[in-house]
Structures are given as structure tokens and as C-alpha cells.
Symmetry: C2
DNA sequence: TATTCATAATAGTATTCCTATCTTTTAAAA
DNA sequence: TTTTAAAAGATAGGAATACTATTATGAATA
């Protein structure tokens, strides 16, 4: 039996789209099939034409929702970071010990989302993979500055800020909470990508165990936070 | 007075080019102006047509040397990592203390190359900036696997292996030398990018001091290496 | 002298990225 | 129920990008 799915709504920056994709079936299809196609072929090979064919609409139809494929990717990543921040708040809600909180955060960042009986996370699972491979491409551009001014990266920065706050809870005199937070987030993904694609850059190439990435990050983070001097 | 420049030759993987760009003036111009244009406009906006116009040759002329612009970027990054490994070997040659060695490595990774009286490092300085912004795009693709089989990333992996070995010299029982090495390399660049473009993701947004990135990385790395348990 | 080799000049194709316009469908308001 | 506004569908096409192919020229090499 599949239980009821509680729809979690994430408020999106309106500058990310031309027409709100949540407002229509076509819009929802653009997002859903967009995720699937980017996952399958990679962002470089992904085009609005292919997406339109896949959905059964036209290129122009897709362009009515998103200005270009980069904006669509920014939209997807923004959604993902918003969703992940919610997951973190949800799973650390009743946790008082900041160290346990931080451990949970690392686990959530590193763990591929799994389908379970409670809800269908298939899209979130694909999104997690997309963010690993394509996530940094949204800001590694010449237009970072402008995009940042329009708050396209707010969900990402908010998430890092939340993690940075937990870091400070763990150790009030720690000097680099923000940089440590962005390091945790980026490395949770990069070590995963390396493990699966350039294994000699990690110590997990053989086992391919996400738990080892988590152990590495825990070791790295808590050594630093417990270091007295 | 400008002293003699000792040309340092870095052996390149022949599968990276169609014709060796070091073998002709046109080839050298493609690399040199390629670096300048990618630096100026970013990789996405960079085209072989613009490059050809800049040099005063034709599009077809550039295509005779490099299959496409992605291969050119892979070529440039491979050269950079080879060059950096040389720099590291050179500057740690007479250092016996592995901790001092590792500190020097972190400094070299994080520090933008400076022109000095000894030699003209203008191209290396631009390359350093290019690697920060575009470097990860060479492997964050659907073709990582094939590219890796052709050893396109060997210089990067070799550099990480060298750093991993120094890590082990510092602490023989450390469990994650390779992952720590790739973390150091990636974060030396990402923290720099964040500091300059998304400053709230770092603790150096105000000062914009590379020395602070170095201090952060040192704290992170040596806390972990000195952690006894 | 013949030949090969890099380069230049030119042309052209497929695809990508994007805009415009017109018609039909849908669905909400009057 | 009718009207009307918005969304979607259909079609066309243009500018730029990412290539490939062909031929001509001049310089070095056998």
C-alpha cells in the first residue's frame, strides 16, 4: 500500500521562469521530463527541442516557460537546495545535540535519496544525481554576479548558512563556519562524483560506499571542530 | 633587466590534439590567444570563430589543431596541472619536513601566480584563473569515463597522488589521503571563486585575502592529520 | 625537380538557440 | 449560455555555433 503523499511546496524565485511551471500540466511536464532528459544525456547534450519532442509539444512551447536551458537548470538546483533545506530542518527538528545535528546534515547531503513506501522520491533521486554532476555549472559562469544579484542562488546560500550556524553551535570559537559549510556541501557531492568516475581521486574507489564518504567528512569536520588551540 | 627564461617543457598527451600546437607559430597562437579569450569571455561564450578572428586565421585553421573547444580546455588544464606539479616538486625539493611540504603545497595551490623579474608568468596567471572557473567542467561531463580511459586527466590525478603521498608522510595511519588531497585541490579553487563571486559562502568575503584561504585549509588539514584516536 | 606539408580561402551543412505569428482549445467570467 | 481571455499547438524562420570538405598557395624536404 502506498500512503498518502503530502505535497511539499517550495516557493520559487519568480525571476527564474517566464511562466510558472507549477501552474499547468505542460509546465509540470517540462520540469519532470527535463529532469529525466538531463539525467540521461547530461546538460550539454540536453536541448529544448529534445525536451519538446519528449513531451509532445514544440520548442516554442518550452520557451514560453523558461528563457533558456541554463535558467531551467538554475530552477532545478534552486528547487533541490530548498527541498534539501526542508529535509534537514525536518530531520534535525527534534535533535538538540549540535554534533548529532551536523552528522545528520552530512548524512543527508551525501546520501542518494531512496524511494520508500512513504512517498515517491524518484524525481528527487534523479535530481540528486543531476546536482552532483551539473550543480556547480549554475554558478561557474561569467554571469554569476548578475545571477546572484537576482537571488538565483539564495536557496544554496541559505542552506550553507543553516549548516554554518550548526557549526557555530558545535564550537563557538571556530573561525571558518561558512567556508567549512560550503566545503561540506561541495565535497559531499564531489567525492561522490570522483568515487564513481575518477576513483583514484578518493579512498572509496573499490567499495563505492557512500558510508565511507560520510565517515571521511565526519572525520574531517569534527577533527577541525574539536581541535583546541 | 629581464633574466633568461628557462623554457620548461611539459609533455602532453597526444590524444588531446590533432596537430601539436607546440610545433608551429599558429599552434602557439591558438593556445596563447585561446587562454586570453577564455579568460576574457568565459568558456561558454568562447568559440573557435572568435579565436580565429583574434589570431587572424580561419575557423578551419583552428580545427586543424583541436577537435573542438572542449578538447582545447582539457589540453589547457592538463598543461596547468603538469606545470603545477612541477612547481610543487621544485619548491618542496629541499624540504624534508612533510608538514612544511604540505603547507607549501597549499600555498602554491591557493596563490595566484605572480609576474616576477625572473620569468613572465602572465599566461600562467590567466590559466590559474581559468582553472578556478572552468577547471571542473572538463570532467563534469557525460564523457568522463571515455576521457579518463584516454588518460586526459592523468596530470590532475598525478598531482593529487603526489599530495596524497605527502599526507601519508605526515601521518602514516591517516585513512583518507586521496580524498583529502582532492579536497585540498578543489577547495583551494572553490573557496577562491566563492570569495570573489558568492562571498557569503566563505569567511573571507570582506578581506578577500588569499592568505585566509590558506589559513582555513591549513587548519582543516592539520586538525585532521593530528587528530589521534 | 617533385613532393609533402602547413596554411589560407572559401563554401557549405546540421544543429542549436531563440523569436514571431497565427490558430485552436480550454476554462473562467459575465 | 455566451463572451472573452489565456494557454497551448502549429509553423516558419533567422542568427549563431559547431563543424566538414575542397581547393589553392607557398615553403620546406627528399
Amino acid at each position: 500500500m502506498k500512503s498518502m503523499k503530502l505535497e511539499l511546496h517550495i516557493k520559487m524565485n519568480e525571476a527564474l521562469y517566464l511562466r510558472n511551471p507549477e501552474s499547468s500540466e505542460l509546465g509540470k511536464n517540462i520540469v519532470k521530463h527535463g529532469i529525466q532528459l538531463i539525467y540521461q544525456h547530461g546538460f550539454e547534450a540536453f536541448t529544448f527541442k529534445k525536451l519538446a519532442e519528449d513531451i509532445g509539444t514544440t520548442e516554442a512551447g518550452v520557451y514560453r516557460y523558461f528563457e533558456n536551458k541554463h535558467k531551467l537548470l538554475v530552477y532545478l538546483t534552486a528547487w533541490y537546495w530548498g527541498w534539501l533545506e526542508f529535509q534537514i530542518r525536518f530531520h534535525t527538528n527534534n535533535v538538540t545535540d549540535p554534533e548529532l545535528k551536523l552528522k545528520k546534515v552530512i548524512e543527508l547531503l551525501a546520501t542518494a535519496v531512496a524511494d520508500d513506501d512513504i512517498s515517491d522520491y524518484e524525481n528527487e533521486r534523479l535530481l540528486h544525481q543531476i546536482i552532483i554532476t551539473e550543480g556547480s555549472k549554475v554558478y561557474l559562469t561569467r554571469q554569476v554576479g548578475q545571477d546572484n544579484k537576482q537571488h538565483f542562488f539564495k536557496p544554496y546560500k541559505d542552506l550553507c548558512a543553516v549548516i554554518g550556524d550548526i557549526v557555530i553551535e558545535c564550537n563557538k570559537s571556530y573561525k571558518y563556519p561558512k567556508s567549512l559549510a560550503s566545503t561540506i556541501v561541495e565535497m559531499a557531492h564531489f567525492q561522490n562524483f570522483f568515487m564513481n568516475n575518477l576513483p583514484s581521486l578518493t579512498d572509496f574507489g573499490k567499495s563505492k560506499e557512500i558510508n565511507e564518504i560520510i565517515a571521511f567528512l565526519n572525520e574531517l569536520v569534527f577533527s577541525s571542530l574539536k581541535n583546541k588551540r
